[in-house]
């Protein structure tokens, strides 16, 4: 698949020019953007105020266009909050829709292309969406001033009502048409934080109503049209395997099956609906060519990783002669860690729908990096970029899974649509559905990794040297992201959270090694932090014990130069009653970690069941993510991030036997369930700093907090995940 996609991948690389254009400053970018209403909107305008980030309709509804994919993290609500606040709309009149794919207008200002990830949605939009709201408000006021013949400075807007001391008043909708004719202000004046009405308060999510009534057309899986065809694809059971031959005779006999077509990565069964496609696929006779496939077991791959960590690798950080410092130390603590492949397991399996008529293409999917999806579709279908339209739908989770460098679900549906036309079929929309097994056995995992640690201590148990080597498959090496994300030949994603630690160690060296395998890997909620936080935070706990120091007090000694991190640690400890003994039969563990600009400390309280297994009873978290835009959503993301991380460390792993994935559904890759979920308490630090990420930062500390609590109870730290391997689950 990767090989076949080489050309689309090249095309998907954002050019230097487009990167510069899109990142040319938010104010300038906004104004240019605001002068470019979409043709479709103009046609549908009819008295509406249409700008790229906000539409005000004559029926007095205000629609905020989310350039980011909302896959549950609450981004659409966050962006709506920013616009509504500056516009002074009422919360009842606002709603959100996903923006079209257009990197010139909707680029993530931190990426240079349109895309969501790295917990950047609020960070890159905070000024842009407020400016959009403020500009719209200025135009509404200008319209009222013109209509009423009064000075603009005397007009106020509050809760969606525009008014003047003379008694004149109007709704935003009533002024929309005239507002659309006003000049777009070059530098709209933003509110000061004391004037905010929605930012910093917890207004309800804009998408909850639809999600509690089973509303249609919410997710890609639900996309329907009368002429819609549904396809499932038989893909190689081994990564890197190729199709040798197939016989579709039995599959074609299933009522409802329309065609069976070869595409570059397998065989697609196209049917009038989903069940015939799924049933018919089972009847395909296929032979695969595994000559270039990954045929090793995950155990063998782990052995290779561990061997890599025993030899020098690529230097990530080199403070000095770490081996000499270790030799000169009074004692050396050594530890080896093993982390498994993890599947994202979003509730909505992967899916993508496409209509291609030979000249134009329209896509419907939860598109996370629209610009790459767009380029890949255009390249495979051999149509110009502007002949492709993407309708971004709400996604039933992602956790990183929908942000692929190769847009493989879009590539697959594009190849299929092409094959359908080549086979003489009439143009029709086709939706590829991934079954749970397809999704889970389909790769793009959190890479498995091996970590080797040596920590030197002097006679007083002060750290003298910290030597750390991580071996894993790189997520970005060899992908279009390499040019942007690999610096000096180093994949910092792999070691983030470790090489940049703010613990005051006198000497730290860090190496990384890259495993070569056909198993595709991808970012999984918090990326490198999923393993580095576990290693760093359990190691610091071990060192604290060696030194006979309290884990919180010891960390605070090492965090003198990182006041925000120290602050969340103190807050979580205080709220968890760290200085008082844990209740009978319970044990506490703590971890603190910075990721995606945000600081999160978590105190986990655990007990052991009679059979020796671990029950996580309670987690107290403290978070500093800069200006809190919607505190309740911050709490929700930290609650969810804790649950997501906890499920993984308890019992999740993807293993391979002779290259074939063994865990293919939720029976063997058992997700965290309600009976596993601890009570969670989240405390948010008040802050005027720029907002930072919140979708991911709740996840990294939970693993080490639980591991440290287990060690507090049992004495040993688990170094080989998941906890099932230690008989603790």
């Amino acid at each position: 698949m990767l090989h076949l996609l080489q050309k689309p991948l090249e095309a998907a690389k954002p050019s230097r020019r487009s990167f510069l254009k899109a990142s040319a400053g938010t104010v300038g970018g906004l104004v240019i953007a605001m002068l470019l209403p979409r043709a479709a909107d103009a046609a549908a305008g009819d008295g509406a105020f249409i700008q790229p980030f906000v539409h005000i309709r004559p029926d007095n509804t205000v629609v905020v266009l989310s350039k980011h994919l909302d896959k549950g993290q609450g981004t659409a609500t966050g962006l709506t909050t920013l616009v509504a606040d500056e516009l002074d709309a009422s919360w009842e009149q606002v709603s959100a829709e996903h923006a079209p794919s257009n990197p010139q207008v909707y680029a993530n200002t931190l990426f240079g292309v349109q895309g969501t990830g790295g917990s950047t949605a609020m960070a890159n939009s905070f000024m842009q969406y407020r400016q959009a709201g403020a500009a719209a408000k200025a135009m509404i006021i200008a319209a009222a001033a013109q209509e009423w013949g009064v000075p603009a400075g005397e007009i106020t807007v509050s809760n969606g009502v525009v008014s003047h001391a003379s008694g004149k008043s109007a709704t935003l909708g009533e002024l929309a048409s005239l507002a659309a004719k006003q000049d777009v202000p070059a530098e709209p004046v933003l509110k000061t934080p004391d004037q905010w009405v929605y930012i910093g308060k917890s207004f309800p999510r804009v998408d909850v109503k639809n999600k509690t009534v089973g509303a249609p057309n919410t997710y890609t899986m639900d996309f329907q049209r009368d002429d819609l065809l549904v396809a499932v694809v038989a893909r190689s059971p081994r990564f890197g395997g190729k199709l040798k031959s197939f016989d579709a005779t039995k599959a074609m006999a299933i009522p409802g099956v329309v065609n069976v077509l070869q595409i570059p990565n397998g065989v697609a069964v196209v049917a009038k609906s989903t069940w015939p496609a799924i049933s018919a696929r089972d009847l395909l006779d296929i032979e695969w060519d595994d000559s270039e496939a990954e045929t090793r077991s995950s155990d063998a791959m782990m052995t290779e990783l561990k061997d890599m960590t025993a030899k020098p690798g690529v230097k990530v950080r080199e403070d000095g002669d770490v081996d000499a410092a270790l030799d000169g130390s009074a004692r050396v603590i050594e530890a080896d860690f093993e982390f498994p492949f993890l599947a994202h397991g979003a509730m909505e399996p992967l899916d993508a729908a496409l209509l291609y008529d030979g000249e134009t293409a329209e896509l419907w999917l939860g598109s996370q990096i629209q610009t790459i999806d767009h380029n890949v579709a255009a390249t495979i279908l051999e149509v110009p970029f502007e002949k492709v339209k993407i309708n971004t739908l709400w996604a039933g989770g992602s956790f990183g899974r929908r942000a692929q460098a190769d847009s493989h679900p879009v590539a697959e549906v594009a190849f299929l649509a092409k094959a359908m036309l080549a086979a003489g079929m009439d143009p029709a929309p086709v939706k590829i559905v991934w079954t749970r097994e397809d999704d889970m056995a389909g790769g793009y995992y959190r890479p498995m990794s091996a970590h080797k640690i040596k920590v030197g201590l002097d006679e007083d148990n002060n750290v003298t040297a910290f030597k750390y080597h991580i071996a894993a498959k790189s997520i970005i090496k060899g992908t279009p992201f390499e040019a942007m994300l690999m610096k000096d030949g180093v994949d910092h994603n792999m070691t983030e959270g470790a090489h940049d630690t703010t613990y005051a160690f006198p000497l730290m060296n860090m190496d990384q090694s890259y495993q070569e395998t056909q198993v595709p890997v991808l970012w999984w909620r918090s990326v490198g932090h999923t393993h580095t936080a576990y290693v760093m935070e359990t190691m610091v706990d071990r060192i604290a014990r060696e030194a006979g120091k309290d884990p919180v007090a010891y960390r605070l000694e090492l965090l003198k130069d990182d006041p925000r991190k120290a602050n969340v640690l103190k807050l979580a400890a205080e709220k968890a009653g760290w200085d008082t003994p844990a209740p009978d039969g319970r044990h506490r563990g703590v971890a603190v970690h910075k990721s995606f600009g945000s600081y999160v400390a978590e105190v986990a309280e655990i007990s052991f069941r009679d059979d020796g297994t671990v029950k996580v009873e309670k987690v107290v978290a403290a978070v500093d993510c800069g200006t809190p835009i919607n505190p309740d959503n911050i709490k929700a993301q930290v609650e969810g991030g804790i649950g997501y991380g906890l499920g993984a460390i308890l019992r999740n792993q993807v293993t391979l036997a002779e290259g074939v994935v063994e865990e293919t559904n939720f029976d063997t890759y058992e997700p965290i369930r309600i009976s596993d979920m601890p009570e969670v308490e989240v405390h948010i630090v008040a802050s005027n700093e720029a907002p930072t990420g919140i979708g991911e930062p709740g996840t990294p500390p939970i693993g080490p907090a639980v591991a440290n609590a287990i060690a507090a109870g049992k004495g040993d730290w688990v170094t080989n995940l998941p906890l099932t391997k230690a008989g603790l689950v």
């Binding site: 009534v213 089973g214 249609p216 899986m221 909505e348 649950g643 309600i674 979920m677």
Partner: protein, 153 residues
Amino acid sequence: MSISLKINGETRTLDADPDSPLLWALRDELGMTGTKFGCGIASCGACTVHWDGVPIRSCQTYVGDMEGAEITTIEGIDGKAAEAIQAAWNELDVPQCGYCQSGQIMAATALLSETPKPTDEDIDTAMDGNVCRCATYARIRKAIHLAADKMEA
């Protein structure tokens, strides 16, 4: 073959293989997509519907067996327990991605209909089959208690 199903109080006739899952009949044949496909093996509960008020997994229920049965889906759910559950879900902003929430709401409604004042243990037992990968479980628990209070009020 032609099969008659009673769904949300209405008799619907469809042409389907009697051995095909109710899930796909609802979604593809009847266009009712509120009931979700999550795993296909009754391990996640996203496809939960009510059969004569009892929560079942529609991915492992075959249309041929449903002739004459009363099926309720998220689109047709009503009554005191359902209203209280949906109101509590909105009040506490339970959903994140939302994909599992139809199934969660169907399971929670069935729980409250049987057990108007559930304990945490009751909730664990009734809801453990419903996976939420966003791990909104803490809020699901709170929302069920809140809905119970609403029903009592």
